[in-house]
Symmetry: C2
Subunit: 410 residues, 2 copies
Amino acid sequence: MLDEARMLDSADPLREYRARFDLPEGVIYLDGNSLGALPKATKTRVAEVVEQEWGEGLIRSWNAPEKGGADWINLPQRVGGKIAPLIGAKPHEVIACDSTSVNLSKLIAAALHMRPGRKVILSEPGNFPTDLYMIEGLEKQGLAEQGLASRDAIIEALDDDVALLLLTHVHYKTGAMFDMAAVTKAAQDAGAQVLWDLSHSGGAVEVDLTAANADFAVGCGYKYLNGGPGAPAYAYVAERHHGDLQQPLTGWMGHAQPFAFDDAYAPAPGVDRLLAGTPPILGLSALEVGVDLIAEIGMGPLVTKSRQLSEFFRKAVSERLPELELVSPTDPTQRGSQLSFRHAEAYAICQALIARGLIGDFRDPDVLRFGFAPAYVSFEDVALAIEALAEIIETGEWDKPEFKQRAAVT
Amino acid sequence: MLDEARMLDSADPLREYRARFDLPEGVIYLDGNSLGALPKATKTRVAEVVEQEWGEGLIRSWNAPEKGGADWINLPQRVGGKIAPLIGAKPHEVIACDSTSVNLSKLIAAALHMRPGRKVILSEPGNFPTDLYMIEGLEKQGLAEQGLASRDAIIEALDDDVALLLLTHVHYKTGAMFDMAAVTKAAQDAGAQVLWDLSHSGGAVEVDLTAANADFAVGCGYKYLNGGPGAPAYAYVAERHHGDLQQPLTGWMGHAQPFAFDDAYAPAPGVDRLLAGTPPILGLSALEVGVDLIAEIGMGPLVTKSRQLSEFFRKAVSERLPELELVSPTDPTQRGSQLSFRHAEAYAICQALIARGLIGDFRDPDVLRFGFAPAYVSFEDVALAIEALAEIIETGEWDKPEFKQRAAVT
């Protein structure tokens, strides 16, 4: 298997990109779907932002380059504009700001505003928690009603009360992927709009918001975009909605003229009005490097390799470790860049893997999850991961007290 | 004047701290009230977070130290707990998260929830725009009504409809400071609560939220706390309100058990429930260094020096430049760590100052604003600023086309 993996690596058109990332010695990292790896260029760029732009430029760095600045003021738009082509959007339809959670709340509220008389925000049970909690937050304010339907019943649940269908395109736990165009059409046929959470999609799977006629989307900067821990998120609003776009977190940076310091709010054009507070420059600058690198590699080759990697892993597991029950779709075109397996001892197995430097993650109650970030994961990584996983399960290496004690996060 | 300044510097107990900041050659920086200077230790710390914690530790860094992590998961609480003593709060009453704008919206909504039947959020015209815009955002959702009264009439405007009084403690433009304890008491006597925006106070003036019996507060990380451009903000909720605290941006990080991934939201204890999305680790780490440094210097000495610096400046201006009309209070105990002056050509004067490396800022339509961050501004800085300002005004040096063309920000 290792020989086969090495042959695949030598034929991999993306093999040179692995060296563009800092990957720790002795670690096989299959958790880029949780926190992406560090692009080497980020170190230099962050140091430059801190030392030159902040330290030397100080307040002047907010200004445009022609005024001697670092153009911080346009960073949310610039980074958003670079994310746009990765998700099939136009540059002025995407802005990088706040967290995925906060952007969800803004866009749910915006969708409610566009559908007076409809209050239901429909989603599925088991969606990523923050998506559901953000609906609940608006529900407690009396502004929304949460509706839930399992994914096989979600189309028929689209009745006249549904203002918005909020779904995560690639499910965080199973990796199952919705048919974005078909679901969007069904929702719109029922008079609803659709908000896609692309957190597990952007930078990993093919997304074409324009072709799908999507209304809204949000996504995460710290997974496949490699923007760093807690990186700013992004928000998308289809151009056709820019005129009607109204969201409640109307901060000064979303004002048409922030530096006029008017008492009355007047929205900035288009997605700029999604800005609330002062943009987080360190986080946005690190995110920009990650986005630039993914854009340089290109979504087409990334998607192809992602499928090859996960298929290599899936087939090997099904042959060698039939006790691991595949939770993800078998067809690689129906899933994201990850595979999840159910096992009663998933937590301890995950910890035993981490002790060997093989980092995947665990999701309650019994799911082992492996992400295959195609920009830096090699086929050899995958083959070695299979070997380690097989040994740990076959020898019962996981069955130790230190592997069973729960930690805060992974 | 320069001799006097140098004598004051040599007697300044904080003089050694200037060397703890990176200040560019040839620049006199009187804009720390807009963006604080770079602590030298921040460079090392940010590089460590990027290279070791992110690059090497990867997802493991979220864990507690005893699990080999960098304890990222507790960073919002840790930084908040360090800000707390600077503003007279208890460590568990403060959390560092999101932007000031977003935190304002959370706490306005929380205050409305605690005062059913009252919808008015009272503020003053000319408050910092984002404070007013955030009220407006909730007003457009039908949840709040904005009330405005000038500061001399604000106490009498506190009627039975007012749920919350939202004021900025130190006014961003004039530097005028409210009597926090007196205003809080008046509002509470009228059955309202008070939310203080400490953006221009924290790290610069004496604030004692506990002594003032304040209900809520927010503040900015990138001004006197030197947290870096767009640093995370902080939010304070008095302990007595923790049980009733409900805010609408209920993200997964504000859940009692985020990693249980429950479909239903259950709030984390106390201010932890103000968290929404994944904490911005780069920004929080940089902010922590700034906060540590301010805490090391100590609020007492900082407040004393702040008053000395601004008084030195004020007196010199009143003697040499009577055409500059003081907008700030004359009494240093009645203002923040800044002085503002009105002049018809304020914009061009500000640009001419910047061309000489003397950085203050301009606020529409005619205000020149100078901030005196006591941690790194010297009396010599102030004396040289006066000299430059006098020359620019006396010679008409500001009267050039390049100084009159407006830039985006300063």
